[in-house]
Symmetry: C2
Subunit: 309 residues, 2 copies
């Protein structure tokens, strides 16, 4: 079984925007600090971070701001995958030089139906261009969004060519059989398999996986971390069921706007509502429905005052 | 019926790369000059240009190089759509300030299942940020690749809000009924509908559309331009059939590597073979098969010496 050397739960940290749609740095720093206190690792610039709605320079600047604010680099796993390999190299090199614990790398996602050879070359080019022993790549398999899957044979080849550098995967396929196959096939080599949501957390840990990297880590971090830490203890199924119930509320809406609406509501900071196109914030009626449902479920953000900084 | 004010045939100009995978500027300029002599408009930075495998600064520099080399700005329709609206603004502003005849704008293509409201906001934000009366946007509808369609109601709303700026569309859906509907519904307002390939050229022109923006404009430009100019003359169906036969050869392979292989073969400049990941060049066997088939079909690049510059 794999022993995680990194946090078992990561959040793709939401990126707050001002009314002018610029990144809101103070709120971003506050959220990262708050998540760290909850025990969550920081997978900044993920899908739920609206990372692909940020320019490369915005991503570089935001990472610099976090490090400058004293966020521990080892707790960070920035998303650095890009359609253009040149962008992926620049972002990955920057994160690695900062000492980030890893990077989470999408495949290039514009062309569809590309083969493993082309995807291998993309990852290989980044690894060779960055040329830094500290680099730890987590492959990002999210076919429902990227439409470009990362196959088991591709992982096998990357592990063979770049052992130690290709460190793990986030499996957001939603297909448990695939997650289980990744763990079974590559886990014994120390390859860290993170489920793409807490829905599969208990099963992932029981099978020998590393944990989860999950959207709702932004809004339900303490409970997910607790479930991750205590997965062998009595009550695990009940804890998993509780996580599922909270997630189900958010999933009724567009996930990112709904999580941002909850953050705005609980923190009292309306900045959190903003999203960038092509996403659209929840309207007033949707916000009220979401708030009513979360209130009925007893939803709270622990230590929410820290988010008002 | 719409009277095209722009070339009837555009090519998404292929981007050549050196052995080090850097943009090969001399070859790029030569191809653009050659295409212009064939009467083709320059939809640089399209899908077949591997535009999304280029960084923003590479795209800015390449456009500067073309203008600097004396390519007429009015003949250019650079692709400027990006996942990040900030990138789309920068690229669109740059093209517009250069006096480009138009820009071809993908929707943001990372998130799937987004609604028209979010896509409207994306285009509106670019138009408002660029704030230049010269801006002419051609919407890029290519659901097989982008997976983010541009609906008829979205076009209607954009035309209502930004008349004169939203100038046309490239329909690469491959669905003739959709192209016909776009022409019928928006053509009378002067909206220019380009088919996404020459397969639909004759039908598009007969229905009142503007022409086509097509991959094979890179390798079969003169014949496509001839078919476009003479669409009302006798022999139109035979000309269309001839275009289809040439296209069919390339379509047996991965289109971009195959067109690059043909360009390398005919020009004698091996630079043309290179592609960037995630694409992979044709292997030796595929190249020989393609060359044999093209030779059997009598395929030639007219005035090919100009491509050896």
């Amino acid at each position: 079984m794999t022993t995680p050397i990194l946090p078992g739960v990561y959040s793709p940290v939401m990126t707050p925007f001002t009314r002018d749609a610029e990144p809101a740095v103070p709120q971003f720093v506050s959220l990262c600090r708050w998540l760290r206190r909850c025990g969550v690792g920081l997978a900044v610039f993920g899908t739920n971070s609206e990372a692909n709605s940020l320019t490369v320079s915005e991503r570089l600047d935001l990472l610099d701001a976090l490090i400058g604010a004293g966020i521990e680099p080892a707790s960070l796993m920035p998303g650095t995958g890009s359609c253009a390999v040149g962008d992926a190299v620049q972002l990955t090199r920057h994160a690695t030089r900062h000492g980030c614990g890893g990077v989470l790398m999408l495949p290039p996602f514009y062309y569809k139906g590309v083969g493993d050879e082309g995807l291998f070359r993309y990852y290989a080019r980044v690894i060779e261009a960055v040329a830094d022993d500290r680099l730890r790549i987590f492959l990002y398999h999210i076919p429902p969004v990227s439409q470009v899957p990362i196959s088991l044979p591709l992982i096998e080849r990357l592990l063979r060519e770049f052992p130690g550098t290709v460190a793990g995967v986030k499996d957001s396929s939603g297909d448990w059989a695939n997650t289980a196959a990744m763990i079974e096939r590559f886990g014994p080599q120390g390859f860290l398999v993170y489920a793409g949501s807490e829905t599969f957390l208990q099963r992932t840990l029981e099978a020998g996986g590393a944990g989860c990297i999950t959207a709702t880590g932004n809004v339900n971090p303490a409970a997910i971390v607790d479930a991750c830490r205590r997965w062998r203890e009595p009550g695990a199924q009940a804890r998993q069921a509780s996580l599922d119930a909270t997630r189900a509320i958010f999933q009724k809406y567009s996930m990112i706007p709904a999580m941002k609406a909850a953050m705005a509501w609980k923190s009292g900071d309306g900045t959190w509502r903003s999203v960038r196109p092509p996403l659209v914030e929840l309207d007033g009626g949707q916000c009220r429905l979401l708030e009513d449902e979360l209130a009925a479920a007893g939803f709270e953000l622990p230590d929410v005052d820290a988010l008002r900084a």
